[in-house]
């Protein structure tokens, strides 16, 4: 074995050109005539190339290797092969070790589980573990009960809050509906305007000035709905001859259909205003003349055209 190592050293130095000419010749003559020595030269050459490929040469060896050994293209090719081979072998062993590492982890886990088996423990450790188990178990039971109570309380609070929330939502919903109804009603009233002098569905009011028709805006006829019980007529005029006045309603043919003592007029905006309530049933869809006459006279102080539309 020692002889092999000595030969290896000699052959390595020979390959690196570190021998004297005389030493070189001895080595050469020997490996040409001795097959074993020649084989050893080949093996030493492989080792040298592998060391270079793995950057394991000493600085002095490295210089000799690159300056002397690598002169031959065949040797350069062998170095290239060795570099590739070393890379290949490294890959192979890395790939082989990956599953082995995984197995080692599994084995570690297995030994840990083995340790966790109570049967593998000594008696004192088992007793201690049992006592610890009881204490920890009691504490855990108490904690569970406490936490369960807290959870129930929180659950009740949550239910109350939910109920309150639902009530509020219902109120909001009802308010929204009411708001919508009002908006709808307003819209309907905007589309179908009520005559301006109407104060309720049972009494319909009209304000008339002499010679003019008032109270329906652009409509020529004053609308008296079927539901109206009375028609309130407010008549304005300018006359101060009489203390009291009568109101007389005639149809277009001049026939009197209604008369009433309207009493004393009221002063308003520099004029006089008198008001009478006439049964609605008196009117049909037709044209009428309303006259203001001084009481106990036939003097017509004001005359109004009153055109009616019954609905």
């Amino acid at each position: 074995m020692k002889q092999v190592e000595e030969n290896d050293d000699l052959l390595t130095r020979y390959l690196l050109g570190d021998l004297s000419e005389e030493e070189q010749e001895r080595v050469e003559e020997r490996y040409i005539s001795d097959r074993g020595f020649y084989d050893q030269l080949l093996a030493a050459e492989d080792d040298l190339i592998d060391s270079y490929a793995e950057k394991a040469l000493t600085p002095q060896q490295l210089v000799s290797f690159e300056k002397y050994f690598l002169r031959s293209p065949e040797r350069q090719n062998r170095v290239a092969f060795a570099e590739a081979w070393m890379a290949y072998v490294s890959h192979q062993w890395a790939a082989a070790k990956a599953p082995a590492a995984a197995k080692k982890t599994t084995d570690t886990k297995r030994s840990l589980f083995e340790f966790l088996r109570p049967a593998a423990w000594p008696l004192a450790l088992r007793v201690g573990a049992a006592a610890l188990l009881i204490v920890v178990g009691g504490w855990l039971t108490f904690e569970v009960f406490r936490l369960r109570t807290q959870v129930q309380r929180a659950e009740a609070q949550r239910a109350a809050l939910q109920k309150q929330n639902e009530d509020l939502e219902q109120q909001i919903y009802a308010e929204k509906n009411r708001s919508l109804e009002l908006a709808e009603k307003l819209e309907q009233e905007r589309i179908q305007p009520v005559p301006p002098n109407q104060v309720s569905s049972e009494i319909v009011s009209f304000f008339l000035t002499p010679g003019l028709v008032r109270g329906t805006g652009e409509a020529k006829r004053n609308v008296i709905p079927a539901s109206a019980r009375d028609v309130n007529l407010q008549l304005s005029f300018n006359d101060e001859q009489y203390e009291r006045y009568d109101v007389v309603i005639t149809n277009v043919e001049g026939r009197e259909i209604w008369r009433k003592d309207a009493g004393k007029p009221q002063s308003r905006n520099g004029g006089k205003t008198i008001a009478v309530r006439v049964p609605a049933a008196l009117f049909k869809t037709n044209d009428y003349i309303v006259n203001v006459i001084g009481t106990d006279s036939s003097d017509k102080v004001a005359r109004y055209a009153f055109s009616v539309l019954r609905k």
Binding site: E28, E29, I32, Y38, L42, A43, E74, A84, M86, Y88
Partner: protein, 215 residues
């Protein structure tokens, strides 16, 4: 190396040469091959190119001497080869010195610069390494299972661990450490040859698939 010698080895002379190694033709053939390998290695170690041609020239000269009736002692036959090889080597050195020429005066086809095609095989170092690894994988797979396991085991580990591993491997195989190293060397030679062929095939395939390479 035909410039060195005009003389060619004929069958009769070669027979005489083999007979000098051993009377058994098979043993003689093995011994002849050993000497021939040693001489090739000698020229390689001396940095001579091409080593094979110089080795052949050495063998031819020895055979010619035998043909001319030279008396060579059996015991010193290998030494005789070595002596002739040394002469061939020195002649080679003188011829190289004579033929040395400055790079500047070389014709373009003699210029030792690397051809662009050789420089740019179209593959980066990384791709080259990947191709080599793929080829080595195929080459290793082609080995018998026992041989494959043995050579992979031989290269398992690093430094001291690797040395110990190799000792264990030699013990397991029941062979001396030196024998194991030599056995591994033979496998490496096969793998190296396989790798060269595999890469040559892949380059050929690359050239066929890429017209760029047909220059």
């Amino acid at each position: 190396m035909s410039q060195i010698s005009k003389w060619d080895l004929d069958q009769e002379t070669f027979g005489k040469l083999l007979a000098m190694f051993d009377s058994d033709i098979n043993v003689a053939g093995e011994k002849y091959e050993c000497v021939r390998c040693g001489i090739v290695k000698y020229f390689e170690c001396r940095g001579c190119l091409p080593a094979l041609d110089l080795a052949d020239e050495t063998i031819n000269r020895v055979a010619r001497k035998l043909g001319e009736g030279a008396e060579i002692q059996h015991g010193s036959f290998s030494s005789y080869f070595y002596g002739v090889a040394r002469n061939v080597f020195h002649e080679h050195l003188r011829r190289v010195d004579r033929n040395l020429a400055p790079v500047e005066i070389l014709l373009p086809h003699q210029h030792p610069s690397v051809r662009p095609f050789e420089m740019h095989e179209g593959r980066s170092d990384q791709v080259d390494l990947e191709a080599k690894l793929a080829c080595l994988d195929a080459c290793t797979e082609s080995l018998p299972e026992g041989t494959r396991k043995m050579i992979l085991s031989y290269y398992e580990g690093k430094e001291r661990a690797r040395i110990e591993n190799r000792k264990r491997l030699a013990e397991t195989l029941g062979v001396p450490m030196n024998s194991l190293r030599i056995r591994v060397h033979r496998i490496r030679e096969k793998l190296e040859g396989c790798l060269i062929n595999c890469l040559a095939r892949s380059v050929t395939g690359l050239k066929q698939n890429h017209p760029h390479y047909h220059s």
